[in-house]
């Protein structure tokens, strides 16, 4: 009784899992399929790359993509540097106020972060003659991605053998040299993984970005959001597919590096 049941249950569980994976992946797969549909409606009319051509021709999209790339690159570089140094400092000895603040920033609803940054920038601008723009978006992105970097790098450091650093000090390296020549090279895969993760989060963000963006800093997600609110659109399917493939590749690389 129990034995036959045992054999059957994994089968049921497997069937369930297949359904769950379909639920997770099919919607994206369907988007991809209809991005190469000749018709602009949801009935299959044959293969066509028309929507990809339309996507690539669209200068508005190209501009928004450029903005997104600039913002994500700048924010990633800053957040990765700041987060890596912070993770190292926290690994040496916890600073409870800082680490709790970082955790809190991780679970703060995006909309709350967005409006509070908006309120902050507007308040600052009363003293400085500045306006919302790329710089405010980049600052906002740094603010929310530092915590992700800290967590990924800290996880990496926890597997790092601290005696290697002692060995470096022992052989005459200063604390900075030990970090620079021993610790950093050895945790580098984790640092790069953290950077790639920060990049995807930054590249994809809509909620916070939309609150602190100015006229010159419309990002790709902002354009896509406006399109999505108007309803399905084969061009949007094409962009979505490109993004899923691109960010998916970045994430796969990031995960590989984390295990390295």
């Amino acid at each position: 009784m129990s034995r036959t049941g045992q054999r059957r249950t994994p089968g049921l569980l497997g069937l369930y899992a297949a359904g769950a994976y379909a639920f997770l992946h099919l919607p994206l797969a369907v988007l991809a399929v209809f991005s190469v549909n000749a018709s602009r409606f949801t009935n299959w009319q044959g293969f066509s790359l028309e929507w990809y051509r339309a996507t690539l021709r669209d200068t508005h999209l190209a501009e928004a993509t450029m903005n997104s790339l600039i913002i994500a690159t700048a924010a990633t570089l800053a957040a990765t540097a700041i987060g890596t140094l912070a993770a190292y400092g926290l690994w040496k000895r916890d600073a409870p106020v800082l680490s709790t603040s970082l955790y809190l920033s991780l679970v703060t609803p995006e909309i709350v972060m967005g409006i509070s940054l908006l309120a902050f920038f507007q308040w600052i601008f009363r003293f400085l003659s500045l306006q919302l723009g790329m710089h405010t978006v980049i600052l906002a992105h740094v603010a929310f991605s530092v915590a992700y970097v800290v967590i990924v790098v800290l996880a990496r450091l926890r597997t790092f053998d601290a005696s290697l650093e002692e060995a470096a000090l022992d052989l005459g390296a200063t604390d900075w040299q030990a970090f620079r020549h021993v610790t950093l090279p050895l945790i580098l895969p984790g640092v790069i993984a953290a950077g790639l993760l920060a990049f995807t989060i930054s590249f994809d963000d809509y909620v916070i970005t939309s609150m602190v963006a100015g006229v010159d800093s419309e990002t790709l997600p902002m354009v896509m959001y406006a399109m999505a609110r108007r309803g399905p659109n084969p061009v949007l399917n094409a962009i979505s597919t490109l993004i899923v493939v691109a960010l998916g590749t970045v994430i796969v690389i990031s995960e590989r590096l984390r295990e390295k």
């Binding site: 769950a20 997770l24 399905p232 899923v244 998916g248 994430i251």
Partner: protein, 275 residues
Amino acid sequence: MKRLRRLFLAPAWAVTGVLFLTPLAIIWVYSLLSRGAYGGVIWQATAENYQRLFDPLYGMILLRTFVMASAATFFCLLLGFPLALFISRAGRRKHLYLQLVILPFWTSFLVRTYAWIFLLRDTGLINTALLSLGVIREPLPLLYNDGAVLLGLVYGYLPFVVLPLYATLERLDPALLEAAADLGARPVTAITHVIVPLCAPGFLAAGLLVFIPCLGAFLTPDLLGGGKTVLAGNLIQNQFTTARDWPFGSAVSLLLMAIVMIILLVLLRRGERLV
């Protein structure tokens, strides 16, 4: 060493201090001030913004938000647990199966939400398919309602529960299951009577990790609710954009933050690693 460590922590202190804690402090101050005519605030202290939270109109929105987040959490746990169980028993393929959950999670939340517009719309794939098969004559109203929002939230945050539940299951002693089977428990009984109770802490952590983002959800209700499903997130956004009532928007934000902080405290107290 102490000096170097302080130097290393300084930029992170600057970022969290200036770009996270200060903005929160500002909206805390704003929540106690009066609204300006064209957005912004007037420096006149008032408790009115918090009193308005008890206004039935806004009370209903907060209640809806709470119910929606609870329902999404419930379904995420219900759907996520068997998946986590499956992965924990997958042997050498565990890793691959886990990656298949993580991958959609990190790739574009926006695209994943848009996918459901594509599927659920009147002229979307599901309605088109059902119409052409002759199952229905009129398109079903699948999009722009509470159900669509709930679906979007569950879809969006399902991976969030699978990871911590999987981690909990991994820590379980497999001998416990064997012991249960040995004592004559059928597999389903073993799951409901042995595994689920043992995973209770994992359920709590996973549930809270979904509950928090659902509570502050903005994108999903906005896109899939079509403006009909107003949750706390939409209310905040609305106050800072069209309604131009920053003080009230700040008060709602702080209410959300208070709930989030309480939950975070519960999690930290239990010694959970958050990610």
